[in-house]
């Protein structure tokens, strides 16, 4: 039985009930990056934490908190502490706290480490928020509308999909390794030992698949000189949304100027 409601959904903009999700993808990116830029001008870790909290609130407002928080914590808890440790134990300073060989912990290093770690949280926040609130295809369509060539937008989309494909293929190969009795679970060394032999079949498979995918795309007239059309319907940006984005940009610009002056 054909789902007529689903088919009719392509005849008008595919809007959700959430105002934030309905914003134009480029406007969403504009807001996220503008918020992120504040961190570069204020240079206070407290500001970075506030911006991170704003991102969490935006995820809540978009109704995407669950899908946001897990990858954000996974990413942030790896990258943030890494930057903190690198800065904290190697940065030179006058207020020495601990010194042993090349390890040189200073108060200045710790302060800078906290600053960098919280900036990384903001960067992770932007990235994860983009992935959970923007559909990749809507993003590339809106890029095409402002003149980005079709093949560039295809490359963006296929690169994003490639990451998912490689992850899936890795799981398939690891499962088959496991079924042959090869140990794939355990401490980090066992996992590395199991993972390294997977790399060559994984990448060789990806390379050989690339040729077939090119042929498949050729069969779908990808190289057509005609201007391409789109099945998906991207809503023309409403005036209110334009005003909102401009206001946010002006507000952030004002804050940045305030930060520089102070």
């Amino acid at each position: 039985m054909m789902d007529e409601t689903f088919i009719n959904s392509y005849r008008s903009p595919q809007l959700s009930k959430n105002w934030l999700l309905n914003l134009n993808p480029l406007n969403k990116i504009n807001i996220y990056i503008a918020l992120g830029l504040i961190t570069l001008f204020f240079q206070h870790w407290q500001v970075n934490v506030v911006i991170t909290l704003v991102f969490i609130l935006l995820a809540v407002a978009a109704g995407r908190f669950k899908s946001f928080i897990s990858p954000f914590l996974k990413l942030g808890l790896v990258i943030g502490p890494f930057f903190f440790i690198v800065r904290a134990i190697f940065w030179p300073g006058e207020n020495m706290i601990f010194n042993y060989g090349i390890i040189n912990i200073t108060q200045e290093g710790i302060d800078l480490g906290i600053q960098y770690a919280t900036i990384m949280l903001v960067v992770c926040g932007i990235l994860v928020l983009c992935t959970v609130t923007i559909k990749a295809e809507d993003l590339t369509y809106s890029l095409e509308k402002i003149g980005v060539p079709h093949n560039i937008s295809f490359m963006i989309l296929s690169s994003l999909q490639l990451i998912i494909d490689l992850k899936d293929k890795t799981n398939v190969i690891m499962d088959s390794q496991r079924s042959r009795g090869i140990e794939t679970e355990g401490n980090v060394f066992v996992r590395i030992k199991a993972f390294v032999p997977v790399l060559s079949p994984l990448f060789l498979g990806a390379i050989s698949g690339a040729e077939e995918k090119t042929i498949a795309m050729d069969a779908r007239a990808f190289s057509s000189a005609n201007p391409n059309t789109h099945l998906r319907f991207l809503r023309p940006t409403p005036a209110l949304e334009k005003i909102l984005v401009i206001l946010v940009d002006i507000l952030i610009l004002g804050l940045i100027i305030l930060g520089v002056v102070l």
């Binding site: 054909m2 689903f6 559909k135 069969a219 005609n226 391409n228």
Partner: protein, 286 residues
């Protein structure tokens, strides 16, 4: 005028020492289904790539002779015009999905988007193809999460939506289970009924016997025999050339050798059944 015509065509891949295709001459007629069979590595896929225009533009190499598609030499065709004239489906169902679309409906629409077809027409054409192939239940699914057989049906749907007159289909069932194979041949049968010109490479010889109007046998790059399907398969000497013969054709040959031939040489199960029933009723009458 022939739909596709090859005149003295030879082709050699870059860096290869021998020709992959050797002096091939053949004319394909509109609306027929051609089965292309032969040993692995014999040149069947190269033959398909040639008709699809991937040779020499994509693979390079030396192509001699002439290939005419609807009367126009293949080198004169623009890639996009060729894509809207010849559809190409190949064996690997996993690389035929673009990977960039979120639903099967959007995946099927991709070729039409690339051709610049307007949204309303895209919706109509995709809906029609989905109905024809009976894949209504899949349209909302993520194409990257489908099984091999489902992906192959979506690949067919994507090409059929582009409404090409000619279809080159290269071993579409080689990675599918019996159910998937049966679904794909149902689609091929439908396309044949629609009057499409189909070039089908397939190892499942009984299915070729069932569906093909004519058969071409390619061995080591040469077209060693061709003709009506029943004529080609009645020559059991092809077994010596490494070509499989349908089981029913072998049975017909055995009957002939036993001095009890069928009235007409059967190559499919339905033909054999008809002959056996006929012989049975004749016996009863006598």
């Amino acid at each position: 005028m022939s739909y596709i015509e090859l005149k003295n065509v030879s082709y050699r891949y870059p860096l290869a020492e021998t020709d992959a295709l050797k002096n091939i001459n053949y004319a394909f007629e509109e609306g027929k289904l051609y089965g292309i069979i032969g040993e692995n590595g014999g040149g069947k896929t190269t033959f398909c790539d040639l008709i699809k225009g991937l040779i020499p533009s994509f693979y390079g190499g030396d192509l001699t002779g002439e290939v005419f598609i609807k009367g126009k030499e293949i080198r004169e065709w623009e890639s996009s015009a060729l894509a809207s004239t010849i559809g190409y489906i190949f064996q690997n169902p996993f690389t035929q999905i673009s990977g960039i679309k979120e639903t099967v409906f959007e995946e099927i629409a991709l070729g039409l988007e690339n051709l610049g077809v307007e949204r309303e027409e895209i919706i109509d054409r995709v809906t029609s193809v989905v109905r024809q192939l009976k894949i209504e239940h899949l349209i909302k699914n993520n194409p990257n999460k489908l099984s091999g057989g489902q992906r192959q049906r979506v690949a067919f749907a994507s090409i059929i939506a582009m409404e090409t007159d000619i279809l080159v289909i290269d071993e579409p069932t080689s990675q599918l289970d019996p159910k998937g194979t049966s679904d794909i041949f149902e689609i091929i049968h439908l396309l044949k009924e629609q009057g499409k010109t189909i070039l089908l490479v397939e190892h499942k010889i009984d299915l070729i016997a069932e569906y093909a109007d004519e058969v071409l046998v390619i061995k080591q790059g040469e077209l060693i025999t061709n003709g009506k399907t029943s004529d080609v398969f009645s020559n059991v000497n092809l077994l010596n050339e490494g070509v499989n013969i349908p089981q029913i054709a072998l049975l017909s040959n055995d009957m002939k050798e036993q001095g009890k031939p069928f009235d007409t040489f059967a190559i499919t199960r339905s033909q054999a059944r008809e002959q056996i029933l006929k012989k049975g009723s004749e016996k009863i009458c006598h």
